[in-house]
């Protein structure tokens, strides 16, 4: 599903964010990407969702060469890559229903289909009863579930979660990781989760990739920090 071959990226300020990264992630896999601040995690996400182009190497996601994508094809590609952020990025003036529907509206889906799909998603993220609530009426965990709902509304092949539990307490973090596992199993969505949460990584063991100064320094299928 995801193939990175010898990928490097340096910024104009001279920082080498990624250095000769080689990765292969299968369809339906759930992987953690861990590493200290400045290790290249955010750049990896940007390379994967087509926001930046690597200086060297190839990035293949679902058979698409992301780096070689024509500018106008990027939006279409992005419908296959859902993104979840630490700061939720919900639209405060829209309800939960409207926030999820928003992702479908912008790709031109007919209204009837939008209604059906949003109800499915709300059911999946267990927020049916909050459909008419506004983001500021929800807890952090619920807001993050809305963000996840919005990210999966288009049925993406890949879901990239950038520290989705970063702003949440342990109990809510548990809620989110459980939801992501549910999506991974039920929809067979490939999930890449960038995290700093040692407890989660150790408790819900999955393949764990560690980045440091732009290099992949560990890639363990056993999972957990202790395995690295």
């Amino acid at each position: 599903m995801i193939d990175l071959k010898d990928v490097s990226k340096a910024y104009p300020n001279g920082v080498h964010a990624l250095n000769h990264v080689n990765l292969h992630i299968d369809k339906g896999e759930f992987v953690y990407v861990i590493g200290a601040t400045g290790s290249g995690k955010s750049t990896l996400i940007k390379v994967l969702n087509g926001e930046i182009v690597p200086d060297e190497g190839t990035v293949i996601v679902g058979g698409v060469n992301v780096g070689a994508l024509k500018h106008r094809k990027v939006p279409y590609y992005r419908r296959n890559v859902g993104c979840v952020f630490q700061d939720y990025r919900l639209l405060p003036k829209l309800t939960v229903y409207e926030n999820i529907a928003f992702a479908l509206e912008v790709v031109g889906m007919p209204r009837k289909q939008i209604r059906k799909r949003v109800m499915e998603v709300l059911d999946l993220v267990d927020l049916k009863e909050k459909a008419r609530s506004y983001p500021d009426e929800l807890s952090g965990g619920q807001q993050q579930r809305v963000t996840i709902g919005r990210a999966i509304a288009n049925k993406p092949m890949v879901l990239i979660a950038d520290e989705p539990t970063g702003n949440l307490d342990p109990e809510k973090s548990l809620e989110i990781i459980t939801l992501l596992e549910k999506i991974n199993k039920k929809l067979d969505t490939t999930i890449m989760m960038v995290t700093h949460d040692k407890v989660l990584v150790d408790r819900f063991k999955k393949r764990t990739i560690m980045l440091d100064k732009g290099y992949v320094i560990h890639d363990s299928n056993r999972g957990g920090y202790k395995s690295l």
């Binding site: 500018h71 279409y76 639209l91």
Partner: protein, 300 residues
């Protein structure tokens, strides 16, 4: 393309929603473009009517060249050709002293009939010279008066010359002012759309993340600009239709004297209103396009 038409109602709704959401900014833009178009309208109405008035004067305005009575027909013809070949001269027509007397009698009454008959007519044969550019009348008159066989060359005088120059200036500077006003309106709309884009930057970022096409993101802003232009133009259009028609009726279609007649309201106001609406919408579109191009540019 199909997606565009499918999405059009939604894009229009979004543009309307944005206008309501940022009502104060939208309102100030509408007022600004309205004022700009209103001023442009006033200048245009004056421009067109003064233009008509100037044309009326200019058409009646020519140099009268009095000819030496000793000139033979052949010499008169040569002189006419020589004047006609002067730059700025449009047309030269010959009028004999008898024709001139007839015209005098017609204009001023039968008392001048006493000058009819051989050797009684004190007038000269004349050449009437029309010019392409009436601002050069003084220069051309001087040149003609120095030619052989010319007794004198006269025209309406310096007062009328100044008036023509004044009208020409009004035309030129009026056009410049209208152009400037339109530019200001473009700039104001560009600024409003820029503010809207900045206010909505989070929403735009989310739209990009979930895979919205760039045109889907930018089109509502362009529509918003067109709507602002339309609403801004509506006031001047109403003033044009009702104000001009009313003024025409109040003044009986004349400014001060029957020399300055106003253009008839129909179809003038309809064309002008259509033009104002179109300018408003094009200006709105241009302003928003400039903002979108600069602030919604996405590169990777």
């Amino acid at each position: 393309m199909l997606l565009f038409f499918k999405s059009l109602p939604r894009l229009v709704r979004n543009a309307n929603k944005d206008m309501h959401r940022h009502f104060s900014m939208t309102f100030s833009s509408i007022v600004s473009i309205g004022i700009a178009l209103l001023m442009a309208l006033f200048i245009f109405v004056i421009y067109v009517n003064v233009g008509g008035f100037t044309n009326q004067i200019e058409n009646e305005f020519m140099i009268q060249v009095s000819l030496n009575p000793t000139l033979e027909d052949e010499e008169i013809s040569e002189l006419a050709d020589s004047i006609a070949s002067t730059s700025s001269v449009k047309k030269v027509t010959y009028s004999s002293k008898d024709d001139e007397l007839d015209a005098l009698i017609k204009e001023n009454g039968p008392m001048f009939k006493q000058y009819k008959g051989k050797d009684k007519n004190p007038l000269y044969d004349v050449l009437n010279v029309e010019l392409k550019d009436n601002t050069k009348i003084s220069k051309v008159t001087k040149k003609i008066s120095k030619m052989d066989g010319v007794v004198k060359a006269t025209y309406g005088g310096s007062a009328i010359n100044t008036m023509i120059q004044l009208f020409k200036n009004i035309r030129v500077w009026g056009s410049v002012f209208v152009g400037l006003m339109v530019l200001i309106a473009v700039f104001l709309i560009r600024n409003t759309i820029k503010m809207t884009i900045l206010v909505r930057k989070d929403e735009i970022a989310i739209m990009r993340t979930v895979g919205a096409y760039n045109w889907y993101i930018s089109f509502p802003f362009v529509l918003e600009g067109i709507f602002i232009g339309f609403w801004g133009a509506l006031g001047p259009v109403l003033i044009c239709i009702f104000g001009y028609t009313g003024l025409y009726h109040v003044l009986n279609g004349m400014f001060f004297s029957n020399m300055m007649t106003m253009l008839k309201p129909y179809p003038f106001v309809l064309w002008t209103s259509g033009g104002i609406l179109l300018i408003g919408m094009v200006v709105g579109m241009l302003g928003s396009y400039l903002a979108v191009r600069k602030y919604l540019r996405w590169t990777r």
